[in-house]
């Protein structure tokens, strides 16, 4: 299945870019005419994924984060967030609620929130090579008529 529309943004792992990333994702999602709740869910999930990159993938130095946004037929939004950081040793453990290797400003709920707010969350990680998180969400069709 080929995307109908795509965008890619790259940024360094500075925490100030958490706000940039979720706002950029929300701007891309706007073409699907989402509800306010849907926009907020997307922003929250992206915020969690990007914060994981900033806190865990690059704990000691700045690194590159790439966010790819795809719009597929049938109102499917896909967001791929990739880093080239330390990787996750045990992905299942990382997805467990309340598990965190981070400091006190992390609650260990990042993946739980992503899973609650997205239709699917896929994580691929290789130690020393990096992590890719693929988020998918169907946007409900509110009114009949074509979307640009």
């Amino acid at each position: 299945m080929r995307p109908e529309n795509s965008a890619t943004v790259e940024f360094v792992s500075r925490s100030v870019n958490e706000g940039f990333a979720r706002t950029a994702a929300a701007c891309f999602a706007a073409q699907l005419d989402p509800t306010l709740d849907e926009i907020n869910d997307i922003k929250t999930a992206v915020s969690e994924a990007v914060t994981n990159c900033i806190v865990h993938a690059y704990p000691k130095e700045l690194g590159k984060i790439r966010m790819k946004l795809h719009r597929y037929p049938n109102d499917l939004l896909e967001i791929i967030i990739q880093d080239w950081g330390v990787g996750i040793a045990d992905v299942e453990q990382a997805r467990t609620p309340l598990f965190t290797t981070g400091t006190e400003e992390r609650a260990g709920m990042g993946f739980t929130i992503m899973e609650s707010f997205m239709d699917s969350v896929r994580v691929r990680s290789t130690l020393g090579k990096g992590t890719t998180v693929k988020l998918r969400r169907h946007i409900s069709r509110r009114i009949s008529g074509a979307r640009g």
């Binding site: 925490s15 100030v16 958490e18 706000g19 979720r22 709740d37 907020n40 869910d41 922003k43 929250t44 915020s47 969690e48 914060t51 900033i54 806190v55 609620p97 006190e104 400003e105 992390r106 609650a107 709920m109 990042g110 739980t112 929130i113 609650s116 707010f117």
Partner: protein, 101 residues
């Protein structure tokens, strides 16, 4: 992200505003800790009415407040939670751990 605090009769009110994410959470936790240490409140109220966005970093802030108030054997109440933040709290099961008004 902003924080303002008022204290009267050892009731500390913390008002949060703006986007509460990991970028903002560290300074919020530091300032809240400083205020709790200075005032030793018997009750802490966190007003989230002006929080325009919150991710799981907000959970960390509230759990930190809960731990500090448990140490002081004081009460903690969370007020005026916006809908977006409430969805995050619900997903995390936080309603079982904290008192919301």
């Amino acid at each position: 992200m902003g924080i303002t605090c008022t204290c009267r009769d050892r009731i500390l009110c913390v008002h949060l505003n703006g986007e509460l994410d990991h970028h903002g959470a560290k300074s919020i936790i530091q300032e809240m800790d400083r205020q709790i240490g200075a005032e030793l409140p018997k009750r802490l109220t966190i007003d989230m009415g002006k929080v325009s966005f919150m991710d799981s970093s907000g959970i960390a802030v509230l759990l930190r407040a809960r731990r500090r108030m448990e140490e002081l054997e004081g009460g903690l109440v969370i007020q005026n939670v916006p809908e977006q933040a409430d969805r995050v709290f619900t997903a995390a099961g936080l309603h079982r751990l904290l008192r919301f008004e």
